[in-house]
Amino acid sequence: MQKTRLSAVLATFILCMVVWVLITWSFTVQELAAGVLVSIATALFSSRFFVHGDSYRFFNPAKIFSLLGYSVTFFVELVKANLDMAKRVYGGCKAVNPGIVKVPTEMKSDYGLALLSDSITLTPGTITMDVAEEDGKNFLYVHWIDVTAESGEQAGEAIKGALEKGTRRVFD
């Protein structure tokens, strides 16, 4: 377990405060003071689980723009996968061909792996089940509802081709 660092506490505090202001949406002194107290307490307890590595990663505008660009790519993939799944459900007896494929990935950092596997899980048709590391390379086990690829590399291209480029721009 990591030690609590001041920079990590500060970054967590700012995130908590932003969420507090967005949810309460009132700017009286009492509300803001309560928010500061709760945020400081939360940041002290949870920053060491929440922040690994560089705490100020997202104070960099380039990173925020790459995250916004990634959300556009992700939305396009989401719409495609949703339409495919809707076709599968409404279109009568279109065959499903489920299987679990082992997909190699280039991502190294914890955050990158988490963002990539969460995005894969959110697209209908694929669920990430586990992450494993072999010889310094990371592999994802993905349940895929319609296995059409022969090898792991082809499956990776079909499942996360566009997503991985975006995630590598945000993390790593």
């Binding site: 949810i23 989401l78 799944m85 809707a86 061909n97 489920p98 679990i100 697209t123 086990y141 349940h143």
Partner: protein
């Protein structure tokens, strides 16, 4: 104004279309994992389209930034928390199935091969 109103209705109808797809998928698919796959339609496009419609309604007709921001926060929370839960449920369903009845049919099963379930 009427154009915004029509846009909101269209968004809500699209959201309901995908939510219905997810619900029917839960009933039609053959095993647990495929049912979970179909149900992912509900929190993604189903919720997102209804939430965007709600944000537009709150901003243009109720004139309250308050409610619009709250709906956006709710949609983001669903997007962040849903995949974590569904990944753990999928893993649990797989292990429980392999220990018991072995009903889930998988064509390549790399996970079972590597971990000898």
């Amino acid at each position: 104004m009427i154009a915004v109103r029509i846009l909101i209705d269209v968004l809500v109808v699209i959201g309901l279309y995908f939510a219905l797809a997810g619900t029917l998928g839960i009933l039609k698919m053959p095993d647990t994992m495929c049912r979970m796959q179909a149900s992912t339609c509900i929190p993604t496009l189903g919720v997102l389209c209804v939430a965007i419609g709600g944000i537009l309604y709150a901003a243009c007709f109720l004139h309250s930034a308050d409610n619009a921001v709250k709906i956006a926060v709710v949609a983001l929370m669903i997007l962040f928390t849903n995949p974590i839960g569904s990944h753990v449920i999928a893993k649990g369903a797989y292990k429980a199935d392999r220990r018991g009845e072995k009903k889930i049919r998988l064509n390549p099963d790399d996970y079972g091969r590597d971990f000898n379930e």
